[in-house]
Symmetry: C2
Subunit: 237 residues, 2 copies
């Protein structure tokens, strides 16, 4: 017997601003009836919901943590609540739940229980980077984080470069912000001088800057990416 | 000398409704100053802008067509206009410009001319399908359209299934709506019974329906996908 409740996937602003104007009005209206949330970070999710839904008493809402803070007990309470017909929303730390962010396992469980799953419209830095790169958006791969170790990482970068040239698929990847400069250094050393690299930094923040240049051009003028959120793309134009 | 103008990438509703409430207010405010647009479909773009910016006289705006309707002359007029300091916006038929949609070549030219490129927040059916699938969103590949011919298509489907099992990367693809049933038929014949398939149909439309099930379960109850926009995903949960 399918469960008659719905799990909404709620994007959140990627710039940490809690700017509710980044969420379409049509989506805010769909979120307004929810009182149960599954969240990555309790404090940030509450702050975001206060901005998004000023008319709702957030203290009366129920929150379940997912990811590393989730316990089997709390998730089983969530499913009991939903089985009784209550809708819930998933909010990850920034951007789209389940895309380079927690949320996927909650969604897959909802499918297994026969619930309806509805994704809402919102910002996703991977896709905004892809749009703005000018690279092939008909075929692409996202690899998440590359290996941390220098030799493994260089090997992986050369593999991605070769795939971009051979298959035409845009290759998208990222790094934790404090290791961005080391990754960029490795890319500039490992790739051919005519290979095209897009560096999409601080997407949707005031100092956003997205540029697509050859490795040779980046070598001449190398940006400082320390502690800035960056999406890297290797592709063909 | 870099050009001091900006190319904005403007998502449009994917349900064909011209529903401006699907666009975040913060983004509408950034679009409001634009009077020059590069568009995939002139009639639809004008109708969408009329809904989005009722205070702007759309007939006073200048439109350049991209994709198959673009001429070298019209694009060269666009670049002259932008070189003189005028910002412009790119609008594709539905969803995100440059992602499974035209726009990429205009963006890559803008980068070559040293312009700033700014992607705006909006709906993208590929990413909404990925969020809602419950599959791996840390690593995934989008393949666009599969081969049309039966034998080539079955071979490609088996390759994607094998990649999903071997690498854990979610495999995302699509088909023109009038061939969806033939593609689904091929998937159900080509894949192993325990392989997981997400069918994300009519995303952001009233009859949206996104389900992740095993091939075996889909075989028992096969939906009619004729002429409905669908994103298909093969993955692991």
């Amino acid at each position: 017997m399918p469960v008659k409740s719905t799990l909404y996937l709620i994007p959140s602003p990627i710039d940490g601003s809690y700017n509710s104007h980044q969420v379409p009005l049509a989506e805010t209206e769909r979120i307004a009836h929810l009182r149960v949330f599954v969240v990555e970070n309790l404090k940030h999710a509450r702050r975001y919901l206060r901005k998004l839904l000023p008319e709702v008493a957030i203290d009366d809402c129920t929150f379940y943590e997912m990811g590393k803070h989730a316990t089997p007990e709390s998730l089983s309470r969530l499913w009991s609540t939903m089985k009784s017909g209550t809708d819930a929303g998933v909010i990850s730390e920034a951007g789209l739940p389940g895309v380079a962010d927690p949320g996927g396992s909650v969604v897959s469980m909802a499918h297994q229980m026969g619930m309806r799953v509805i994704p809402l419209i919102g910002p996703g830095s991977i896709f905004m980077a892809l749009m703005a790169s000018g690279f092939n958006g008909q075929q692409f791969s996202f690899h998440g984080y590359l290996p941390r170790e220098g030799a493994d990482r260089s090997k992986k970068i050369r593999e991605l470069e070769s795939q971009a040239h051979r298959t035409g698929y845009t290759q998208i990847f990222m790094e934790t912000p404090f290791r961005n400069n080391a990754l960029l250094d490795d890319i500039l050393k490992s790739c051919g001088s005519s290979t095209m690299l897009c560096i999409a930094r601080a997407i949707s923040q005031a100092d956003e800057c997205i540029n697509t240049r050859s490795i040779q051009d980046w070598q001449k003028s190398t940006p400082n990416l320390h502690k800035v959120p960056v999406i890297f793309l290797i592709g063909k134009i």
